[in-house]
Symmetry: C2
Subunit: 213 residues, 2 copies
């Protein structure tokens, strides 16, 4: 398989973790988001959404949207499972994943930040405060979901890593870059530290990618 990624893309980071957890080998090709290579005609021909990641599957299918890609990996390579077996547990894990992937990450996407500083003319300071607001507010909601449920274990759901952890760890990494205040979410941070002990997570981290700067 071939992954179109970028070391700092947290959506690509999610897919790297999932591939590693499942022990699936993959090659990477890099699209430099800071240089706006995702807006090039050549990349738009691969993904009209002009977003990372894209996974080229073994049959040549070009898959987009990180959560859709990870569900595909789960269906085609079920072990180890990244979702629990029971429907209510699966719904909980997907909701935790989407509390990051739908409620935090999109609002801080580079194209949104460019609209803020470009079209709306907000200052760098206001942009950074925006970024921190959505990370801190969003992760505090995740914290409440975690502490209020007996299903939370060593990881977000039980004692093995799931799709929820796969979304959580890259979001915390992004939050660190923008110096977010994580004091409101100790359980999130405890789980993130547990994940980092696993080589599948550590090997997927931005500094360990070939295109890291």
């Amino acid at each position: 398989m071939l992954l179109y990624g970028y070391f700092r893309s947290s959506a690509a980071y999610r897919v790297r973790i999932a591939l590693n957890l499942k022990g699936l080998p993959y090659d990477q090709t890099f699209v430099h988001l800071a240089k706006l290579e995702q807006l090039s005609d050549s990349f738009a021909a691969i993904n009209p959404q002009k977003l990372l990641p894209v996974l080229v599957a073994d049959d040549g299918s070009q898959l987009t949207q990180s959560l859709a890609i990870i569900e595909y990996l789960e269906e085609t390579h079920p072990a180890p499972a990244l979702l629990p077996k029971d429907p209510v547990g699966r719904a909980r894990v997907r909701a935790l994943a989407m509390a990051v992937a739908c409620e935090i990450h999109p609002i801080n996407n580079p194209r949104v930040l460019r609209y803020l500083t470009g079209t709306l003319g907000v200052t760098e300071e206001q942009k950074d405060a925006w970024y921190r607001h959505w990370v801190e507010d969003g992760l505090q909601a995740v914290e409440k979901l975690l502490v209020s449920s007996p299903a939370t274990g060593r990881f977000s759901h039980g004692d093995t890593p799931t799709l929820a952890d796969i979304c959580l760890v890259p979001q915390v990494a992004n939050g660190r870059r923008f110096k977010c205040d994580f004091s409101g979410c100790p359980t999130v941070m405890r789980i993130e530290a547990e994940c980092q002990k696993l080589e599948a997570f550590a090997a997927a981290s931005p500094p360990r990618q070939p295109d890291a700067e």
Copy 2:
């Protein structure tokens, strides 16, 4: 089942369509987003994310995040299917759904618009232009995904409605309210019109909800 919703919440609208397509009866209770009832302590106790929808399943489980809820309905009530059978097709449908649910809708969430007009002090005109920008840009990307694939049929994927259509229709409805320009996405509009012919979609529309104003 009991759905916490609001007639104009497009995430609740998605769940209403899915319940209707599957022929599942449900009751509704309403959380008035414009009156900020979602921020109340009583609702935050139900969903710490302070977001709609919440579905109370038959076993009493409180499920959040519309796409996680619909995947739960798909797993517990498989017919009629809202996802195709083959993994690549399922990945395509989920990616189309997320091209709306992760890339358009969150950026135009009421709390984001409140941050723009409140904290950042942008004008109503700038806020409306922001809204239209993300809808138009996002639906044009969906359009390209649709026209570039032979899998597109009467609906977004083949000739029966899927999760992709369930996300598309409420997004178009929101876009209409903000007078978006849909001229760049004729296939999106053709599919939206096909969906509206189905009572499952029509009965889920905002004007037909008991709390419609």
